[in-house]
Amino acid sequence: MKKNSYLFEAAIGLLLTLLVSGGYYLHLPFFENIEFKTYDLRAKLRQNLNPPSEIVLVAIDDDSVAQVGLWPWPRTRLAEVLDKLTAAGPKVIGLNIPLSEAEQNQGLIEIRRLSQKYTELLDRMKVVERGVAFGVEFSSSAAVLDSDSKLLAALRGAGNVVLPVLFVPGTAGGRIETVPAAVSSSAVKAAPLSQSIQEESRISHPILPFTEAASGLGHMNHYVESDGVLRREAPLVQYGQELYPSFAIRLALAYLGLKPEDASFESGRSLTLGRLRVPLDADNKMAMIFNGPPETIRVVSYASVVGDKVDASLFKDKIVIIGPTARGITTLHETPVAPALPSSEVVANVIENILNQKYLVRPPWAQRAELGLLGCVGVFIMLILPRLKVLWGLVVSILIAAILFGAGTYLFINGQWLQVSYPAALLVVGNLIIVSRSVLVPEKSKALIEAAAIEMNTMLGMSFQEQGILDLAFEKFRLCPLTGNLKEVLYNLALEFERKRQLSKAAAVLDHIAGKDPKYKDVVAKSKMLKAAPEGVEGAAKSALGRYQIEKELDRGAIGAVYLARDPKGNRPVVIKTMVLEEGAGGEKISEIKERFFREAEAAGALNHPNIARIFEAGDDKGVVYIAMEVPSGRDLVACGQKGHLLPLNEALGCAADVAEALDYAHARGVVHRDLKPANIVLLEDGSVRIADFCIGGLASSSKAAGVVPGALFYKSPEQVAGKTVDGRSDLFSLAVVLFELVTGEKPFKGGEDIGTLVFQIANDPHPDPLSIRKDLPLELKRVIDKGLAKDADGRFQTGAQFAAALRAVPKEPVACELAAVVVPLDVPAPAEPEAAKNVISVGSDIVIAGINDAPAASPASTSAASVPATSRPHPADPV
């Protein structure tokens, strides 16, 4: 069961491992997104909010737009800022504004049209110039309006401006437009071309004059990951047979004083720019390290530059990037560190990374390490986690996860990217499964308890069957679901019943199987056959002892059982008591004990007294010793010793006197009863009494079998509980105890929590004054009881006859004693009795009638064999 559960959990673990490994290989979005999230967290840890200041951004920000006017601006505005910057002496300028078309200035167009028309009119002599050179006016106006020319001039003047190209969506594999030489000269020479490089099929470059005036071109394309976040730069993009560097790479080249052809590209490994090496991943991309949120790299506003509010030395020998950042006029990128980073800032970050050699690379061993980690975690969740206690499993898992993320972060900060979230995800999912299983435990344990009950019943049934207790075996099996195995077991049980000639029971077992599976073996036919078998054969199964047919069990206990049986001779009912004979502790042989028993039984059987129940026979049937006795029809005195059911005093005294005389008769013949108690004294319908069970008590004295404490201990004499040899005076003590109970409704020795207390009381404590319990008892009776309960046998009545005579001498009460018990002395006030308040109705200060629920200890056990429950105590502490 447990093994299966481990197997099941190992299988689940394996499945999860394969699933996550699959996700790892196939870059399934779910798992990739988890890795991206942890990547972004780690990226935040690697921010550098004070980066070196080789780069300055001139931002066309909201302020500038507010000052200059709506975007797009006339290109003269760009020329203006270029001129300003050129004067400050930057190393290189990146103008991050697409200039792929000439500016469409309606005024310039009109001027040019007018100028052309004017020239035509002049040519056709329709207009004559007289002192006024309209042609010059036109061209100067055109020059004023022609901002492209101004920008061109500024570009030429600066001589170190890099311009962007954009690759636009086109049909993949379509015909590649050839580009002018001025454009293609910006390409990096590399051969052979790689398969795994970003490829584009349509280009949008600045118009030719600008291109020619620029110091170089770089692409402004940014490629986001599957979750829409920008994490990598494409330093090179393939267009046709050319590789175009990115804007950032081109600026870095220019900054380093290099030309595109100086860059060397090694596919999947690196792009080398002079002394600087840019590591590339398998996609020929470069992971960006973002320094922080917008404006982490130095940013100045266009307006402040043009307004001469910035110290010109800020730009000296720097890389200056001019680009829009105002809302609505720039492309914003979601990045690990900032949700909206303008593209110019992205470029600045990349350049910063390259110049400071800040990279994040996948180490060559990364994949092997990641697979190894996946494997280890897989083994952990398959084999170890299910065996750990839930809490420990969680602790160990958290520890492993912490180590994974700690190592991942450490490596990340040191520029190496290990994808630890895959093993971590596996760990989490593994734990979820385990925890969910433990959450479902109530369900499971319920099932387990049911399974346990079935197992227990099956097991007990089998044990019963093994011991030949077929009825109980069937009883237990009936409680279990009928599985194939159990059918077989039940079928065998039926066969066993049949062998024992208990045919109807065999049939019942078969019917039980048939009820579920009538096709099982021959159950239906066999059951029918068994039911048709002649009745009465079963009687053979009934047990017998000697010649007596046992009819039913009346009681059973430590020293044997009591059966109601029938004596075929004379067809009269008898009570059979079986007895267990055991070697005594003193070393008495079993044969000696048996001999003694039969001797005593014989003596008891010889007793012929109207107040003694007849013993018919003592026998031995295959080792079972038994006595067959008369069945006295009446009720025993057990109830008569309880308050509210007491006999009238005169009657009680009469009973006791009769018993005393009968004892006298027996003692005179050497027979001691040894177990006299109310349960053994039967009150017949005619009012006479019968003492039963003579000679049984004696056997118990020294053997362990007698053992398990007889309930009759209440009536034992001091010499009996001390284990001494006893004579008839012991019976008289017991009779005195019975008498005490008959007249007061209480036992003289009530015992305590355990049996030891009772034994001590019998041996040592004086009995209570009967008058204190029942005030109206004659003083003479108290004297009889006191003498009868003397601890020393010599102080008691020496014979039953003396006892009887003393009892008969007690003066008869004129009033019925039952009534006397409730007479309330009128002269005594009735104070509250808090002690007795619970169980006892207080009628006066000295006369008390017990309530119904008397102390349970006081109710006498009805047979000689009832065991007294002993209380349990805490165990002694372990020795240290």
Binding site: K2, K389, A452, M459, S543, G557, A558, V580, G587, D878
Partner: protein
């Protein structure tokens, strides 16, 4: 005395010098770590039947159920007990049911019963169940402690301070049990759990030993030998020499010294489910 990390067991039973039958029975199962001593009672041969039945039943149930987490069902379980203790409790109660029902079914066995003291142990701990007056002692560093309380009239008297242990040993009431298996449909089983330490010796015995030898004598025998087989042999021999009035059964188990590797293993094992 050098042990290699395994518990060393020894057990033996003897008819004594007086009795004609041996109604004692014992079980030592090293694989399960199950030790049982039972002292049967009942006429004819049913004392033997009862003590053997408790041994066989508990062994059978232990083989089937130990380590499975199965039984007992919730209603049978005592709260606050370890699974092992609940199982042991269940084994004893099952044996009681069987003995009781068997005695009821067959007049020949009517009234049979038995004491039982059973221990399930490993090198770290032990679970003890007992009913009746067969005892379990733990000997540790020269001290002998009786971990079970006799369910006998004399035992009750000792606990109530009415008589001393020495008087109890001589009392004629010591044969009267207040609890035994097979007497009633239900039985209350005393269950206790104890930690074990290297060098401990667990001793289990029927009253044939305790009636003949005092605790001091038993402790002296253990201290002088510390070897289970010798302890068992010597104790039986001495009980016989003292009269051997009853059947004598003794089991001894020596808890091994723990190596360093083992203590690491113990630590690790604490992390895992049992």
């Amino acid at each position: 005395m050098k042990t290699k990390g395994r518990i060393v067991f020894a057990g033996a039973t003897d008819r004594g010098c007086v009795r004609q039958n041996n109604e004692d029975h014992f079980v030592v199962d090293e694989k399960l770590g199950l030790l049982i001593v039972a002292d049967g009672m009942g006429g004819h041969n049913s004392g033997e039947v009862a003590s053997e039945l408790v041994g066989a039943t508990m062994l059978e149930y232990a083989r089937k159920f130990l380590g499975t987490g199965l039984p007992p069902a919730a209603e049978e379980a005592k709260a606050g007990l370890s699974p092992r203790a609940r199982q042991l409790d269940y084994f004893v109660k099952s044996a009681n049911t069987l003995i009781y029902e068997k005695g009821r079914a067959l007049p020949k066995d009517a009234g049979m019963g038995t004491t039982v003291v059973a221990a399930l142990l490993d090198a770290q701990s032990m679970t003890v169940a007992h009913v009746g007056d067969s005892r379990l002692y733990l000997w540790r560093q020269g001290q002998l402690a009786q971990l079970t309380e006799d369910h006998s009239l004399a035992g009750e008297q000792v606990r109530n301070g009415q008589i001393t242990a020495d008087e109890a040993a001589r009392s004629s009431l010591q044969n009267i049990l207040t609890r035994a298996l097979g007497v009633d449909m239900n039985v209350m089983v005393d269950i206790s759990e104890h930690a074990l330490m290297p060098g401990d010796i667990v001793l289990m015995a029927s009253d044939g030993l305790s009636k003949m030898l005092g605790d001091a004598e038993v402790a002296a025998v253990i201290a002088s030998s510390r070897e289970p087989r010798k302890i068992v042999g010597t104790l039986i021999e001495k009980s016989r020499a003292a009269g051997g009035l009853d059947n004598i059964t003794v089991i001894a188990a020596l808890i091994p010294a723990v190596g360093r590797g083992k203590s690491v293993r113990q630590l690790v094992s604490r992390l895992f489910k049992h």
